[in-house]
């Protein structure tokens, strides 16, 4: 077996019959890292995961575990653990048998017996005493944890999670998310996590890759990706955002650039006059009522009370804008504005 901690994808391309699923994906995932692939459905994130697992063979490019090319190494010899979206528990085996299954093929770590290892893992996922249940007697969340325990039992070097939370309700997802993160940290296992939920991706990852149309748009820590989206797609996909397309028309003494958007001029901090047409984005929380700069008048369309904050969907001319504020406003028309430093030019 190939022992791995770090893994690399180098210009991986995957073509199916008439579509290109992966178009030159390169990633570098460090040992012990919690790495997330996030993107809308069809972006190639699951194909990437399956390529790492050896369930798909790349059309070109290579996958390296600890620097060693694993092309041609079948899944069963790759030392990976997978949790699928539907958990894929073996319906004809008890919980215990499910968790123990991988131990048929490798010795349990640390000289433990299979029984001890299974008990240990059931404890780890808080399912002590559930070993004799059948999978169909478990709730979704429990099934998910069995799948996790099963994947972890042989102590894989890489844990692959394919949308493991998507079938669960919101509150359970958050609990489980924390549990997964805790277990991952505890075991220090390199983890690749696939999700379409950017919020989850931001919350759980050490680093993440935003994927779109078979390509990696941006790789970075959650903060980097959130605060410095590299592309329009990332800006729009990760967190809520307001995109403004316009033309750089001048530069001010304070270093800001003036951008004309549909006849209104805005000042943004890091613009470049030479760019001509440019797009910048402003996060909903950076838009404020009665700001000093970059003011524009909007009409309120929908208001959502979220508890801590309130979200407003407002119309600015033809354009729909979203902003969040802790302070509620009753007016039908508001004047919004933002600090030039909060505008991110893409």
């Amino acid at each position: 077996m190939v022992s791995v901690g770090s893994l690399e994808l180098d210009a991986v391309r995957k073509e199916f019959a008439d579509t290109v699923a992966l178009d030159g994906v390169s990633l570098d995932i460090a040992e012990g890292e919690f790495f997330t692939l996030v993107g809308p459905s069809g972006c190639g994130k699951t194909t990437t995961l399956r390529t790492i697992a050896g369930l798909e063979t790349p059309t070109s490019g290579s996958v390296r575990f600890d620097g060693v090319d694993v092309s041609g190494v079948p899944t069963e010899e790759r030392d990976v653990g997978i949790v699928f979206q539907n958990y894929a528990l073996f319906p004809h085996m008890s919980v215990r048998e499910n968790v123990a299954y991988g131990l048929n093929f490798v010795e349990p770590p640390d000289g433990k017996s299979t029984d001890e290892r299974v008990t240990e893992l059931l404890d780890l996922v808080d399912l002590s005493g559930m070993g004799d249940r059948e999978p169909d007697q478990l709730s979704g969340g429990q099934q998910q944890r069995v799948a996790l325990a099963r994947a972890l039992a042989p102590a894989p070097d890489v844990l692959l999670l394919d949308e493991p939370m998507s079938a669960l309700d919101a509150r359970l997802r958050e609990t489980l998310r924390r549990q997964v993160k805790r277990i991952q940290a505890e075991l220090d296992v390199t983890t690749v996590y696939v999700t379409h939920d950017q919020e989850e991706a931001l919350a759980i990852s050490d680093r993440l890759a935003v994927m779109h149309d078979g390509r990696v748009e941006q790789v970075g820590t959650p903060r980097e990706v959130y605060e410095r989206p590299a592309t329009e797609f990332v800006a729009a996909f990760v967190g809520e955002n307001n995109l403004f397309r316009g033309e750089a028309v001048g530069t001010r003494d304070d270093g800001t650039t003036t951008v004309a958007v549909d006849g209104t001029e805005f000042r943004v901090a890091d613009g470049d006059l030479a760019a001509g047409d440019l797009t910048f984005c402003v996060r909903p929380e950076d838009l404020t009522v009665d700001a000093d700069t970059n003011r524009f008048e909007v009409t309120v369309d929908t208001v959502e009370f979220l508890g801590e904050t309130t979200r407003y969907y407002v119309d600015w001319g033809e354009k729909s804008i979203v902003f969040r504020t802790p302070d509620p406003h009753d007016a039908e028309r508001l004047t919004l504005g933002f600090d030039p430093g909060d505008a991110r030019v893409l």
Binding site: G81, Q85, N86, A88, N104, A151
Partner: protein
């Protein structure tokens, strides 16, 4: 651990070699040495014998005429002369329709109702399959004849009687008797897998129950129904004994002619006809498999609750009860008539026929047939057949779910034992095995139990394959992928995950494979010729005389023995926890 790995590595290829070897020896070789005569002419090979048939009006009717004079298709429309082939296809289509019409409600009752003995009834659905054609003919005459049970009942009720014997209708009905249970059983399994939520969703969207059935359930049942329909069509297409016994020579099929030509030692025509039959059946199979490949769907989460068959009158209960009456007449009737015939004589009720069996058992000479030997042989051969046919069938099912070029062709050829004329197979076995094959200065003969079991296995494994292949294809890929990611080899995944999940399908195939073995007559009688390897159907044939009593008593023995066997096979499956 190491040894186990080696065994795993070697196991699958070994099974493949054994399967292909058996098929080669027990099927391809004997069939090929006979079929080659269809193209053998003095001094070489030629397609002339086959084209001669294609252009002969007797065989192809208006279609043969049309080869030289296409206008005839317009001129004589719609009053076509069908020819032997045309008529054979026509009756097979009617038989298939009848079997589907009789089988579908059966599937509905089996899948959606609960009633005492339901599992036993399901187990026994394979019974018609084991009935030798002689018994079906006897049972049908006794049930549907001019003075049969049905007409006697109708007469006593003051209703008009029906004339069915010696008509196309009775042939169609007899084919349906054989194959409707097959359709019912395959379809019931699919029906049990239909998720209740789907119907409920359709209903919530405003669909009437019937509409929901049509839009939601039917599409999901279609692959199963069509599997059954395909098998029914092929079996009816190749039908011979039933046609001649109940319909008469005026309603002859192609297979009747194959048999006749062989009897007249005109092997060229016989084999040319058999080749055409085979090509037709295989083409149909290929077309079906292309369709099936597109249909494979995963099975459902929550099947609908069963309805108690007994309870307040409702539309669906009335339907189920009505069907039960029809089933009683069509399926139980012929078998019950046989039971009745076995205990009646000119003096009224009698056990004389069973006494005959006992006497035979006690007094028969070595060269005569003993009932108990026949029973034991049948069971042994049936068991032996399973030992061969189940692994073979499962192996070919596994092969058919792998993706590779030419897969469908292999899939189609795996069905060949159904597509080749039974008469030709028998002739091949006679020449290749009983007479033996010369090689290295020796003449090798294969006969007796080993040859019979192998021949039965070849005739039975396609049932296992056709049952298991769709079930395997329906397994969620992620189960397989999970197991592999946990370190299981492809073979281990198959043994640990996939096969256990398709046990119900394997069991269904097993039951039918067993039934095929028990009921097989044509090859058995050739391979057992003159020896002590005779089976129950052979004994039945031997016991036919001026009075049918002894034969019907043996027929009842056959029904009881196989009925009990079916129940045991199914109970074994239920014991495994996944029987339903």
């Amino acid at each position: 651990m190491r040894l186990a790995r080696v065994a795993e590595r070697v196991g699958a290829p070994a099974l493949g070699v054994v399967t292909l070897g058996l098929l080669g020896v027990m099927f391809v070789y004997p069939v090929a040495i006979v079929l080659v005569e269809s193209v053998q002419v003095p001094g070489g090979y030629s397609l002339a014998p086959i084209t001669a048939i294609l252009t002969d009006e007797f065989y192809f009717g208006v279609f043969a005429q049309a080869l030289s004079d296409p206008a005839v298709l317009v001129r004589s429309f719609p009053d076509y002369r069908l020819g032997l082939f045309g008529f054979t296809v026509y009756q097979a289509i009617l038989s298939t329709i009848a079997a589907v019409l009789l089988g579908l409600p059966g599937a509905y009752v089996l899948a959606r109702f609960e009633f005492p003995g339901r599992r036993t009834v399901r187990s026994l659905t394979a019974l018609p399959f084991v009935m030798p054609s002689i018994m079906v003919a006897i049972g049908f005459v006794a049930t549907f004849g001019r003075n049969g049970v049905l007409n006697t009942v109708l007469r006593s009720l003051g209703l008009p009687t029906v004339e069915l014997l010696f008509t196309l209708k009775i042939i169609v009905l007899a084919h349906a008797f054989y194959d409707a249970p097959l359709i019912a059983r395959i379809t019931a399994a699919a029906w049990e897998g239909v998720d209740a939520e789907m119907t409920e969703t359709a209903r919530s969207l405003g669909a009437s129950p019937l509409r929901a059935f049509r839009d939601v359930i039917v599409p999901q049942l279609l692959p199963a129904v069509l599997t059954g329909a395909l098998l029914t069509f092929i079996f009816s297409f190749m039908s011979f004994a039933i046609v001649l016994a109940l319909g008469g020579l005026s309603l002859a099929t192609v297979e009747v002619w194959v048999y006749d030509r062989v009897n007249q030692l005109d092997y060229q025509t016989a084999t040319a006809l058999a080749v055409l039959e085979m090509l037709f059946s295989l083409a149909l199979t290929y077309a079906y498999l292309r369709y099936e490949a597109r249909q494979r769907a995963t099975s459902a989460a929550r099947p609908a609750e069963r309805v108690d068959l007994f309870g307040a009158v409702s539309k669906r209960r009335l339907f189920a009860w009505g069907y039960a009456v029809v089933a009683l007449v069509v399926f139980v009737g012929p078998m019950a008539s046989m039971v009745l015939a076995s205990v009646t004589g000119s003096e009224g009720l009698t056990l004389r026929n069973y006494q005959f069996l006992l006497d035979r058992q006690a007094d028969a000479y070595d060269f005569q047939v003993k009932p108990l030997t026949a029973v034991v042989n049948s069971l042994l051969f049936g068991g032996g057949t399973l030992l061969l046919a189940v692994p073979m069938g499962v192996f070919l099912a596994v092969v058919s779910t792998r993706n590779f070029r030419g897969r469908k062709l292999i899939d189609t050829l795996a069905m060949a034992p159904f597509a080749v004329s039974g008469v030709v197979v028998g002739l091949g076995l006679l020449r290749g095995f009983v007479f033996g094959t010369e090689a290295f200065g020796y003449r090798f003969t294969i006969a007796g139990p080993i040859a019979i079991v192998a021949a039965h296995a070849v005739g039975a494994y396609p049932f296992v394959t056709r049952n298991v292949a769709p079930a395997l294809a329906g397994i969620d890929d992620s189960l397989v992928e999970s197991a592999r990611s946990l370190g299981a080899s492809r073979v281990r995944v198959m043994l640990d995950v996939e096969l256990p999940l398709v046990v119900p399908a394997i069991l269904a195939g097993t039951a039918f494979a067993f039934a095929i073995s028990i009921g097989e007559f044509d090859s058995t009688v050739i391979l057992a010729s003159g020896g002590t390897s005779y089976t129950m159907p052979v004994a039945i044939e031997r016991f036919i005389g001026r009075r049918l009593g002894p034969a019907t008593a043996m027929g009842v023995v056959l029904l009881v023995v196989t009925g009990v066997s079916f129940v045991i096979i199914d109970r074994l499956g239920e014991g495994s926890g996944f029987g339903g």
